[in-house]
Symmetry: C2
Subunit: 164 residues, 2 copies
DNA sequence: TATTGTTATACTCTATAACTATA
DNA sequence: TATAGTTATAGAGTATAACAATA
């Protein structure tokens, strides 16, 4: 199926991305893309995407949050939040409830159905990650978590562009 | 400018993504997105994007590589490689040279100008990462690198979808 | 028949800008 | 005038599908 008399093999495959392996950004991207598709597949049977899963988690943890606040936590624009919340509302998982003190804003709430959905989704993703990172033991996973959080924090602090 | 009498503060900001922090995927995404924009800004004055930077690195390390091979290393489709190579060729950084043994294929080569460009880009990104991850010491950066590589490898091994 | 590179097209995610209704 | 949510639109990145030239 792929044995065509080995017609050159000009490239030793182990070294092709040698120059990229030195960069944290490259390894981070590889690792993330590796799990992204799998994650989407895990959530699909629950009617969730990565974006709606994340939003649901945040509203679970912060009932009454506004869409603008949600956009800040998720690091996306308010216009993007609309689509995500529309999706969750259509699925019956969250509700836009009026805010008495500010009639422009909505307080987002997770419905009972949404809470049940979250419980299932959280468990599915936990199982998914346990399987995906089976080659790392608990200590290593903790270490990775810690380093990722600190790397993100360090990155945020030393950015050149906006908000230094 | 943003002090409107603190009109509820319904959400304690430290806990909003509490339920997401448990997931490696979430922390990986956060960390990666944190550096992605900065990376793009670092490369822009050199006329490179993350995609063309990566391709240039691979062709540097593997002169004569074909576009199909490049697509495998970069984990993108052949149709996507065309755009990237077009871009690098237009910039005078790489060349499509004919392959005598297979007239369908091109052997990709980095031009002298491309090699000079790579040297500058590599240095710029090294400096960029050194600044961005200043809060991690050398040991911690090595540990992060190692864990990311192993996480990606573990992920690739345990995927459910294609190629188990 | 299968493969290389190519084109055309579509889809996802996100950003920008303009609008409305409130404040 | 500024802000919350909304809409329309556009861009980047990548995917799929079909094609010509070659194997």
């Amino acid at each position: 199926m792929k044995e065509k008399a080995a017609p050159e093999k000009a490239v030793p495959p182990k070294q092709t991305d040698m120059l990229l392996r030195q960069f944290i950004g490259y390894n981070m991207k590889r690792a993330y893309l590796q799990i992204q598709d799998d994650m989407a597949e895990t959530l699909e049977p629950l009617g969730l995407r990565i974006g709606t899963f994340s939003a649901l988690a945040v509203i679970m943890a912060s009932p009454g949050i506004s869409q603008t606040q949600l956009s800040e936590v998720l690091n996306i624009k308010r216009s993007g939040v609309v689509v995500v919340v529309d999706d969750l509302e259509r699925a019956g998982a969250v509700q836009r409830t009026p805010v008495q003190t500010d009639r422009r804003a909505y307080a987002l709430q997770v419905t009972p159905a949404g809470k049940a959905l979250w419980a299932r989704a959280e468990q599915a993703v936990q199982a998914h990650e346990a399987a995906l990172f089976a080659d790392l033991d608990a200590d290593e996973r903790r270490a990775l978590q810690d380093l990722l959080v600190r790397a993100a924090r360090s990155g945020a602090k030393h950015r050149k562009g906006t908000d230094g």
